[in-house]
């Protein structure tokens, strides 16, 4: 019998306890040993639950119990999760977490601590919820060098963008609907401003390229600047607008990482990923594009990913999993402003003709897009050649100097040509 503690009894934590109970026998068979939840740590009271005797408000009870071999951390946030997880690992207890913020901020440190104490630190559920992605990347793609990763990593924003594309909802209405349906939190900033996606692409980039990438090193744009007008122009251009986390290794060995909305050609498998679904495309040098798709969040999908890690820990109490990356630091992440991209622009001026003339004067040949009922003076276009973001910013300033207002700008995903 392996004794487990679950720290946090929120949505995911209660799901973990329920899955461990409801699948008790099949899990015991797979883990080759029975798994028992001995403690649940939460400061709140949960009267009336069938397992109420397991609750404790005192972390020391868990830390000081040598019977506890595996600890599940599903509290969220960096503190005190980091201190608790560090203590557990330092005592040789394996830790499983779904906490992307913790892994994105402290992953390298915690992986090293786990290694020093011959324990496991696993976090399959931190990216893509119930979609297997961390382990397949490490194990199945082990014979590949990862070339690039692009993922729709946040279900809330993807739901909002899908409603805008499919039902011509405004961003505000779609957000309100997401909140009503429980997909978005009352304070939706972490989702709609891209921070959640950023944390997840940091984890994947660290894993793929071997050095820790910190969220503060990553240029992050959310979807609050994406309007229904942009979605309609994109649609007319054969593209869907999706919030992506992207990463690839650059020629100078640094790692390019970006969180931003992109125009994605409809032929791409990513363009068809709708509603709250997530998908992660991994390009290996030998295997080509591989895509993983499923529900990226939700109580039971996420809980089942956590429990799968618990089973893996139970099977490898002694052995270490080969999951690790080195510290990050300056020089790991590429300066995104030196990277060449193509962009979509929506521009307003006193007349469409004036705006179009200014666009061609500044950018040379561009492809103009159209949408029904565009207001007078509004145009939209995509640039032809990829240019550095620095150069594009300069050209935006020139546009402004010519009396144009840049209402929005969105990068084009170019999976085929090279990197995004």
């Amino acid at each position: 019998m392996i004794q487990v503690a679950v720290m946090g009894h929120g949505v995911v934590g209660s799901g973990v306890v329920e899955v461990l109970l409801s699948h008790h026998d099949s899990i015991a068979k797979r883990a080759k040993e029975e798994i028992n939840v001995k403690y649940i740590l939460d400061l709140r009271d949960f009267p009336g639950l069938p397992y109420s005797e397991k609750f404790t408000k005192d972390f020391e009870v868990i830390a000081s119990d040598p019977e506890i071999r595996i600890v599940v951390e599903v509290m969220g946030g960096v503190h005190p999760a980091f201190e608790f997880v560090s203590r557990c690992l330092a005592q040789g207890k394996s830790v499983v977490t779904s906490n992307k913020e913790l892994v994105a901020e402290k992953g390298a440190e915690l992986l090293q601590l786990a290694e020093q104490h011959n324990a496991n630190f696993l976090f399959e559920a931190s990216v893509g919820g119930g979609i297997p992605i961390i382990r397949p990347m490490v194990q199945c793609l082990a014979a590949n060098e990862v070339k690039q990763i692009a993922g729709i990593l946040n279900g809330t924003t993807n739901f909002i963008l899908t409603k805008m594309i499919r039902e011509q909802m405004s961003f505000e209405d779609a957000l309100a609907l997401a909140q009503k349906l429980g997909y978005a939190e009352r304070n939706p900033a972490a989702d709609i401003e891209g921070h959640d996606t950023c944390r997840k692409i940091c984890i994947l980039a660290s894993l793929a390229f071997g050095r820790h990438v910190y969220p503060r090193q990553v240029h992050t744009e959310g979807i609050t600047g994406v309007s229904l007008a942009d979605v309609e122009y994109a649609d007319g251009f054969g593209c869907a607008v999706k919030l992506l986390g992207c990463t690839h290794r650059t020629d100078d060995g640094t790692v390019y990482v970006m969180t931003a909305p992109y125009l994605i050609p409809r032929e791409s498998q990513l363009a068809g990923v709708d509603d709250v679904f997530n998908a992660i495309m991994v390009e290996g040098d030998e295997t080509g594009d591989v895509l993983f798709y499923g529900k990226g969040a939700g109580k039971y999908p996420t809980a089942s990913a956590v429990v799968a890690d618990v089973i893996d820990c139970a099977k490898h109490l002694e052995a270490r999993k080969y999951l690790s990356w080195a510290d990050g630091g300056d020089g790991v992440v590429a300066d995104y402003r030196k990277t060449a991209v193509r962009k979509y622009f929506r521009v307003c001026a006193s007349s469409s003709a004036e705006a179009a003339a200014a666009a061609e004067k500044v950018f040379g040949t561009v492809t103009f897009l159209s949408r029904a009922d565009a207001p007078a003076g509004e145009i939209a276009f995509v640039t032809s050649a990829a240019e550095t973001e620095e150069a594009l910013d300069q050209k935006c300033a020139e546009l402004a100097g010519a009396g144009c207002t840049v209402a929005s700008q969105i990068r084009l995903a170019d999976f085929e040509a090279s990197h995004i």
Copy 2:
């Protein structure tokens, strides 16, 4: 240093050797030990290769060398692969294979042999080529009970069907193109008659439900009966025609397994899987639908999956992987004829009105489909209620009795409602 033998130097075998050489350093880092190809077994001569000194024509050289810890079997076919693999496992050598025929016919036996001798028998590359599927199913979905699996598992047939859908090619022309491009073999029977798909769904069904499912127990239809007319009718009905391998557990505990073309609603992620790509949808009870997508064949994708298994073996020379299932036998596989399905029918009679009247008389309410330039006397329809295949066969006989010829019939995939 871990010594490896590669049995078979065909497309995949030469790819395995190349990947092990070209990624030597990164593989050594991941395996925590250097991996060296000591022997390559092939009856043919390959003069001029940089590693020609590694070739042997004598299996005994490999079997009798205690230094060889891992053997890669990429010869294909059941014999002598089965005898060679059995000998290796019995000596405690781990075996990695991409040979779906071997696994589908002898998997339970070889897994048991591996277990008895504390060796590993891994076969990630046998299903989905470079797509990680076996390991994610076993590990990441370990906390789930698998409810159903549906996969586009054969790239050749998917290429042919894509050409029919997208470019209105006939089956014969699309097959000829696939052969010209090297996607189809000169004898394409294993692909187009569904045997390759059948072997792969047998492996997945065995893995998901724990008892060996043999290809001979599975009703298998290929795509030779699918005409351009059927594809056009399906298109008008909002569906794509795809060759699927499907499996689910039935209420009486038996396993339903089917290989056949299906009409798939365009909203399904599987409908958008085109060309030589494969995709496997796995529904877990907790995680919902998860989809794995990528190149299902090809030298380097398949080779990289084999090498990933070699790395896994190298990291677990002592430990056993938890991959196993029990023997099959009578009573494991459900009688597909007792299962209720909806079907598409294309029927010819002396007049369309007569055919339609007969269809409604026999099947009750049906949905009629249309296509451009349908010849006189041809109709197509889908049935409304799901009925057992037995009952549908009986009704087909009634149609024939009413002067109609059933030109083709294809099952409808109904992922949402319940099982396919």
